[in-house]
């Protein structure tokens, strides 16, 4: 046996643009992204709650701020983040209890999470807009 063996370059799956993430993986990373986004915008959300509950005058400020179309768009994004985090979180709790861990069931439930969170975002978003 030769000491030197020709090694094929080992595949390194770190090229994010080349990774084909399966659906449960997409749900998982979106869970993290939505959580991070909600954390980053917590001060803004607390500011809005503060204005909305301060007095009748500050409620006017609140209404003016959330009336801005750009802010509405941002809040729509945060609404999706919250709902996705909520739905995906329930899925993870069920997985923790060993429910739906088979491949087919896991794929199905990740489809449901994506669909339900987007549908709820649209319903609530349209109602509030």
């Amino acid at each position: 046996m030769s000491e030197v063996t020709v090694r094929k370059p080992r595949p390194k799956h770190l090229a994010l643009n080349q990774i084909r993430l399966p659906l449960p993986g997409i749900v998982s990373i979106l869970h993290r992204v939505s959580g991070a986004g909600l954390f980053l915008l917590l001060p803004f959300l607390l500011y809005l709650l503060d204005r909305s509950l301060g007095s009748a005058q500050t409620f006017e400020t609140f209404s003016a701020v959330v009336g801005n179309p750009l802010v509405k768009l941002l809040l729509l994004g945060l609404l999706w983040a919250y709902l996705h985090h909520f739905c995906a979180g329930i899925r993870f709790l069920l997985l923790d209890m060993h429910k739906g861990t088979e491949l087919a069931a896991a794929r199905k439930s990740s489809q449901i999470v994506l669909a339900v969170s987007i549908a709820l975002t649209l319903i609530i978003g349209v109602k509030l807009w």
Binding site: R32, A36, F39, P43, L49, L53, F59, G89, L93, D96
Partner: protein, 115 residues
């Protein structure tokens, strides 16, 4: 005698449970909030602040915020632990996160108990 294991398979169990317990409480609160908000006659200051003036609702809302901040602490800490390797930077980010969340808890208490 204190038996504390600094390493091993069960070190993160407390945080793991806390993350899930806070999640369950927040999920239940979310449903309660949605039902109460939908039941509001109108989206005016009187109706909105009236909802939060209710003692039970205020109590549940404050618990929601505490759960949220504890939950966010575990989640954000996990993100720093996954992506930030230099110990000094990671420690700094942990501290900033912790201080922010403790500050938010004070802010949330002030928002609710002013009513």
């Amino acid at each position: 005698m204190v038996k504390r294991q600094p390493v091993g398979a069960h070190y993160g169990l407390k945080d793991w449970i806390a993350q899930r317990a806070t999640a369950v409480f927040m999920a239940i609160y979310t449903v309660i909030f949605a039902v109460c908000a939908l039941a509001l006659p109108e989206l005016s200051y009187e109706a909105w602040s009236g909802l939060f003036s209710n003692g039970l609702f205020k109590f549940l809302s404050f618990l929601f915020f505490l759960s949220l901040f504890y939950h966010a602490w575990i989640g954000v800490r996990d993100i720093w632990m996954d992506y930030v390797k230099p110990t000094g930077v990671r420690l700094a980010l942990h501290l900033v996160t912790l201080f922010l969340l403790v500050g938010y808890a004070g802010w949330a208490a002030q928002i609710l108990w002013r009513l």
